[in-house]
């Protein structure tokens, strides 16, 4: 983990998203797929927190972030320009496991910005597979060509039907699962909203496969110190709090104890 003053190389629109490229000598070369950086939005004097963003691309001396301007911080981030200094803390989190037995087929499921960490993963997994990307609308469907250029099969679903199948990405996934060759052993990697992750996880558990789910939780410190980003996990010693920023953001589906509707008291054994 480093605290690095990076320099903005470029910022470009990509559909409804933006790609921010930063010169980074210390963080970039250390990044593994699924890890994130905690970014301080410059000149936002009244914002005390950094913003967590997954690493989308990483090279020896630069990295790129793919983000959607959805609020105060990401909105202000659109105004940074080439040459601006941006402080990053990273790489943070555990990231996705990249070792994969040769008989497994990687199945990536991305909701919204979830393509960012999965794209980095797609480059590093030992075998190619299939990507399911689900978003609100065609303008949110990202990186199709990039995945295809890497040899991945890319399928899209949009909620408004403007591109690919209309509906949720999990429906698309289910269709494909039903028709897949019976000897195909999927290994899931997913990043997106909780509902989607949970659905992917359930399918994996039912089928007896593994699903690596990257959670999105509001964060304070990003390094495990503040205990803001906790998630209940099933561990040998009982139900425990994991810190999404440090123990995650990636957990295997079986570990995650999802909240049940109406549940208020969260029991954990320590």
């Amino acid at each position: 983990m480093h605290l690095e003053n990076t320099c903005v190389l470029s910022q470009k629109a990509l559909g409804n998203y933006r790609v921010l490229e930063l010169a980074s000598e210390r963080i970039a070369p250390a990044v593994r797929p699924g890890q994130f950086v905690h970014l301080r939005v410059p000149r936002l004097a009244d914002a005390v927190l950094r913003r967590p963003l997954s690493v989308f691309r990483a090279e020896a001396d630069r990295l790129a972030l793919l983000y959607k301007p959805i609020g105060y911080g990401t909105g202000a981030l659109t105004r940074v320009q080439a040459g601006d200094a941006v402080s990053l803390l990273g790489p943070l989190g555990n990231g996705f496991p990249v070792a994969l037995p040769p008989d497994r087929m990687p199945v990536l499921v991305a909701g919204g910005y979830g393509v960012a960490p999965l794209f980095l993963l797609a480059r590093e997994l030992p075998q190619r597979g299939i990507v399911f990307a689900g978003t609100a609308s065609a303008k949110d469907i990202l990186c199709r060509e990039d995945f295809e250029a890497l040899g991945w099969d890319y399928r899209a679903a949009t909620e408004d039907g403007t591109l690919g199948r209309q509906g949720l990405v999990t429906a698309l996934l289910d269709d494909w699962m039903r028709n897949r060759p019976s000897n195909l052993m999927p290994e899931f990697y997913a990043c997106g909203p909780d509902g989607m992750l949970r659905a992917v996880g359930e399918r994996a558990v039912v089928g007896g496969w593994r699903a690596w789910l990257s959670l999105d939780r509001h964060m304070g410190c990003g390094v495990g110190a503040c205990l803001a980003c906790v998630q209940r996990l099933r561990r040998p010693e009982g139900i425990v709090w994991g810190r999404v920023c440090r123990d995650g953001p990636v957990f295997e589906a079986r570990e995650i104890v999802w909240d049940e509707p109406g549940e208020t008291k969260k029991e954990v054994s320590r």
């Binding site: 983990m1 480093h2 605290l3 301080r40 009244d46 914002a47 005390v48 927190l49 950094r50 402080s87 803390l89 939780r217 509001h218 964060m219 304070g220 410190c221 990003g222 390094v223 495990g224 110190a225 503040c226 205990l227 803001a228 980003c229 906790v230 998630q231 709090w241 440090r246 909240d259 208020t264 008291k265 969260k266 029991e267 954990v268 054994s269 320590r270």
Partner: protein
């Protein structure tokens, strides 16, 4: 000549007056990669209770202009868990470690304190009687002078370590609590804890925090904290550790000039982990620039 930054509070010698505040620095190891821990004045670890405590449901934290509101709810592995999981690392540091403790009864505080008595590497206890985030205890002790007195007395009776009650800002007259601390055997006082606050998500018409209310920290509370430190300093000769909204050396200097012997950096570490180190440098520069030969000369140096 370089000014002398070293200070001594409650018998604990620190290389400079800048500490990191409880709950914002975990158990220090979390920041070890990016900060040279040996440069800090002291480290105060996350609040510890007698038994493990699971804290509040999420969301536990929400950002507001100039600060954040948290309702972590004092999650911690309990004093045994703390000693086994975290003291081995903390003991390797040559920076004084203070343990922040809390309980649901005066008895629990006292037992936790007693357990830490002979733990190597623990240099003092900060007694949190002011956490706005748990119903059991916490704030209830901090806003009632006799309950505060009970806790302090009970802890004093069971420990040889220096004890530093951490006062609540949520009182009409902080001087009362400063005096209570002095009378019942405290070696110093810390102030302030975060201020009771609430954020509503207007889209969903629900509290933004699962716990409904939480504690406001960060620059927003700094002028409130300076006032309370100033008042407390008029009321007691106990050394004061000032905190609340420090993000620059100037913020820290205000506390010192108001009467604090040391300061702690909390929320600002999240935005910039280097804050405490920058504050140390800034204080040093200020002292040289203004002809002070030591940090302690500046304590309470307010002219009127």
């Amino acid at each position: 000549m370089k000014p002398d930054l070293a200070i001594e509070i409650a018998g604990i010698r620190m290389r400079n007056p800048v500490m990191v505040a409880s709950g914002t620095f975990g158990y220090a190891e979390e920041y070890a990669d990016v900060i040279d821990l040996s440069r800090l004045g002291a480290i105060v670890v996350k609040g510890i209770s007698l038994k493990p405590w699971s804290g509040n449901p999420i969301p536990r934290l929400v950002e507001v202009p100039g600060g954040l509101v948290n309702a972590i709810g004092l999650q911690n592995p309990g004093v045994e868990g703390f000693i086994h999981q975290h003291m081995p690392f903390l003991r390797t540091l040559d920076t004084p470690v203070l343990v922040n403790i809390w309980g649901r009864t005066a008895q629990e505080y006292a037992e936790t304190a007693a357990r830490l008595n002979d733990v190597e590497g623990v240099r003092g206890l900060e007694i949190n009687i002011s956490c706005p985030n748990i119903k059991e205890g916490g704030l209830a002790f901090g806003t009632n002078p006799s309950a505060a007195a009970d806790v302090i007395r009970a802890v004093r009776a069971r420990t040889r370590l220096p004890i530093i009650p951490k006062l609540s800002p949520n009182v009409s007259d902080i001087r009362v609590f400063a005096r209570v601390a002095a009378e019942h055997g405290a070696d110093a006082i810390s102030l302030i804890n975060s201020y009771p606050a609430m954020v509503i998500d207007v889209e969903r018409r629900r509290p933004a925090l699962a716990n409904v209310t939480g504690g406001l920290s960060g620059p927003a509370i700094h002028p409130i904290a300076v006032k309370l430190v100033y008042e407390a300093a008029q009321a007691t000769r106990l050394p004061i550790i000032g905190m609340g909204g420090i993000s620059t050396a100037r913020d820290a200097l205000e506390f010192i000039i108001a009467g604090a012997s040391a300061v702690a950096v909390g929320t600002a570490t999240f935005g910039d982990p280097m804050t405490a180190l920058n504050v140390i440098e800034g204080i040093e520069t200020y002292l040289s620039d203004h002809g002070f030969s030591s940090a302690s000369e500046l304590v309470g140096a307010l002219e009127q």
